[in-house]
Symmetry: D4
Subunit: 157 residues, 8 copies
Amino acid sequence: MGADVLIILGSKSDIDVAKKAAERLKALGIEYKVEVASAHRTPQRVEKLVKESGAKVFIAIAGLSAALPGAIAAHTVRPVIGVPVSGKVNLDAILSIVQMPPGVPVAAVGVDMGENAAILAAQILAVDDKALSKRLSEFRDEMARKVEAASREVGGI
Amino acid sequence: MGADVLIILGSKSDIDVAKKAAERLKALGIEYKVEVASAHRTPQRVEKLVKESGAKVFIAIAGLSAALPGAIAAHTVRPVIGVPVSGKVNLDAILSIVQMPPGVPVAAVGVDMGENAAILAAQILAVDDKALSKRLSEFRDEMARKVEAASREVGGI
Amino acid sequence: MGADVLIILGSKSDIDVAKKAAERLKALGIEYKVEVASAHRTPQRVEKLVKESGAKVFIAIAGLSAALPGAIAAHTVRPVIGVPVSGKVNLDAILSIVQMPPGVPVAAVGVDMGENAAILAAQILAVDDKALSKRLSEFRDEMARKVEAASREVGGI
Amino acid sequence: MGADVLIILGSKSDIDVAKKAAERLKALGIEYKVEVASAHRTPQRVEKLVKESGAKVFIAIAGLSAALPGAIAAHTVRPVIGVPVSGKVNLDAILSIVQMPPGVPVAAVGVDMGENAAILAAQILAVDDKALSKRLSEFRDEMARKVEAASREVGGI
Amino acid sequence: MGADVLIILGSKSDIDVAKKAAERLKALGIEYKVEVASAHRTPQRVEKLVKESGAKVFIAIAGLSAALPGAIAAHTVRPVIGVPVSGKVNLDAILSIVQMPPGVPVAAVGVDMGENAAILAAQILAVDDKALSKRLSEFRDEMARKVEAASREVGGI
Amino acid sequence: MGADVLIILGSKSDIDVAKKAAERLKALGIEYKVEVASAHRTPQRVEKLVKESGAKVFIAIAGLSAALPGAIAAHTVRPVIGVPVSGKVNLDAILSIVQMPPGVPVAAVGVDMGENAAILAAQILAVDDKALSKRLSEFRDEMARKVEAASREVGGI
Amino acid sequence: MGADVLIILGSKSDIDVAKKAAERLKALGIEYKVEVASAHRTPQRVEKLVKESGAKVFIAIAGLSAALPGAIAAHTVRPVIGVPVSGKVNLDAILSIVQMPPGVPVAAVGVDMGENAAILAAQILAVDDKALSKRLSEFRDEMARKVEAASREVGGI
Amino acid sequence: MGADVLIILGSKSDIDVAKKAAERLKALGIEYKVEVASAHRTPQRVEKLVKESGAKVFIAIAGLSAALPGAIAAHTVRPVIGVPVSGKVNLDAILSIVQMPPGVPVAAVGVDMGENAAILAAQILAVDDKALSKRLSEFRDEMARKVEAASREVGGI
């Protein structure tokens, strides 16, 4: 497993959020791997995936009582990014991921924000990787240009 | 470990809620054991306690992103009762415990309701234990008498 | 009434949640019965159904101010599992079911989680039934296998 | 039981909210009676109190999963006023009382607003009682005068 | 204006909720009138409608910052029933209606529960009207029969 | 009434929030007047105060179902600033003030933020008053200096 | 840039809310300009637009963690009106905009209420502009007439 | 500025949360610096601190409409950790920090969890620092031992 980022989905149904993460990682030139593992249905699988992975950063995508990011964090001191998946309540997944107890943090991003999880993972990997840092800056510049282009479009209303 | 109920606290600070559970179990004549184990700080300890325990019912007490009840449920098919502990947000622990994903339920009781967790554990054990069932009925009768006594007290306002 | 589990719906409109419970009970080989009874529109019917039932576990499915699980619990010391049904607010049914007062617990499961109610009922019945306990373990194993299969599917994104 | 209003508390601990109701009823010259009865601990007592009561209006005061107002409403077609009692969550009692299912309404007032429950009861009784209606109007005038007096006090800041 | 109940909508868009109220009032043989008036856009119209109305009970239907029920209550000591209308937030209308300040209560019913507002209005009018009280009891019996019929339908799942 | 700003409190108990507004207005050299008037207890007083006032901006301070800002806005096309006052729920006052219906806006500021209401009022008055605008800029500069001073203080932790 | 109002959208996707603001400003005869600028993606652009703008009032439209209104307010002492845009959570944008810290207020209006932002901007500009004030009063009168017309339509239900 | 972590407080009043972060960083042997800077009161100061800082990770601590973490993230592609500070609402700071828009993530940790922010910062720095990674593992082990010690203490209840 040579991937720098391991994306774990709590359920196959979280695939759309995972795809947004995968696409952004790919665009930033970061190697990743995707697995499904459930904190509640397959706790040993979560533990095994985490411990055997050589990943430097984990992205965990889960809804409802989203225990997956915390379950991963319990088995590694690598940074774990948690993405709450939207559902019937939404506050459940947000609060389950962000309100971690003292000592074992998870880095929570917004509801369904798979892309932001990827960018945060890239920012973490870029701490000691100037080339990646440069690609992130270029991505920022590109976003800025899109905002300016959008501004020209809406100007006429 | 001959105890029928194993109470696990996510943190020593949850002790007051645990005491309410312990007292009610004692009063109902049920053997129990109390341990501290954290889903996030000591995941293996949770797994070990659950798998080595001969307990028929588990009570898990935790606040914040209260992953403990679900983490216990992930390692057993015994009934797991989850007690959310109050804090700065409250909805975090309630929703983390009640909103379990399909396939691995937790039986959630109310915020800080250690006593209700004990009664629910007793009700579960009483399914095939007529003597315990009778003690539960007597406890109900006693509560009803207290309500009537309270009614006489407040009648004068 | 020889059924071990009595499923009570607060309203016919909760049928889809009830079906998920019924299917899982059937798959686990547990006898059940389904009734509609409303805590508010037919309180005597609720009382009668509960008192005359020989069921060992009750599953109550209700939305809005979901009083049904508590109303059932008020008439029995058997375990009562409450399933909040989703609607315009959702927190109403969740909190109505989980926040029971001291002395009369309800075992709350997640919003619309009829299947989890069935599994929890099975877990309770399995406390003294090794064959059922084994079926529950097999169901867990089957879920784990599905997670692994799903993992292979999503690996390519 | 000649009282026009029956105040029922779900628990003795709700006494302060009940006192505010009782004082306002007294001031408005309305006969009332106060009882404690719990929808969950003493369902028969609730039913008996409601059915044997000759009260024209019921005030039900309860916190948490506040089933009491609905339980009373289930046994009478008299108007039932529900007062949510504050606690660790607050939205639990508010939503449990206000979100009644179709067919069996409860008249919800604000958190801990025992006095408003009394005034609403008086307004209901005053529909066919001109003298009481006049006392309610005088109470309104008195409140208005207090607002004006308060205005003079704060004018100097 | 000989109608016993005046239904006021905050906006024409609340018509569906109003219809449910109107139909139930009609079925119960209660005279009603329907008006649109906005607490914010037409405060004088609200005042005029309320003061000139001979209605014994008011039903106010409004969403968002639902000030209408309170604005009506400010101009009368007649009972005012408030119906929160669902929208993008829902808690806004519920809390705006239920959390009235001391001295001026509104009787809040559930989100979009126009029918319950009508039944509550009928219950208030029935305090001194035995014939109406009997019709309400018959409506209850009819609901109970429907629950039993529904029970027979779902029994087969 | 020569004051540019009229501060209206829904209740004398909101005085602390009003004082923060008054102090800031005074410091910015703006004439103001303070009154108590309740949208629910004294609707005519609200109307009279608003219509007879020559104020250019209104500040309305209220808690619970905070109808006061909207009630003022209903009687004037002057800008109305609403300040939600904290209580047992908080979301009630915030949502009641911010979620105004189409056509009649209120400018909501944060919970208990009397000072921000004053600054916003000053910003509105400064649209055509360069001297006041300059005082606001100076106040900003002063805040910035305080932040820098605070930074020096905390630097040592 | 001679426009009195500058509307800034956090994202092109907020266009529908912006259009409602633009249409109302146009109808009230107020000059405006529309730009897209993101507090997070283009902070310098926000600063530049605000500082170079001669606008008297700013309208900022943003969803999620809606920092844009506050970011604009940080660069000007002109009044800034914030419009929360609806999404998966809604409370995020509402609270991000309304709960500004001491010293830098934003005038929050309701979710998606672009039109109300425009009216509030007009009310601010009308403080010293009698002609505009008159147009606002006429718009109020027109709304009132529409309410009366709507009342005639619904009267028949 | 040779510090690897720059802690920025939105206000001096957030000092207690900052201290918990500082203590943990110190214990882990990480160089840090503490500053106060407000996204709303001193936006240029935030920009200057971020751009001139050589820090590899930023920790931003803020309450209310907690724009600070996002404002920092807008000026750097370094990882930014946001800590919501508790107040009268709590959901405001949590949602403001976690619900960042696409493209500019913030790593949110729990309410008042300064220590977790420090640990997450350390985990990020440890991605390419084996010695730090080892210290983090030792800290985990120490926490685990404390849990076991706590378990022995509570065992007697």
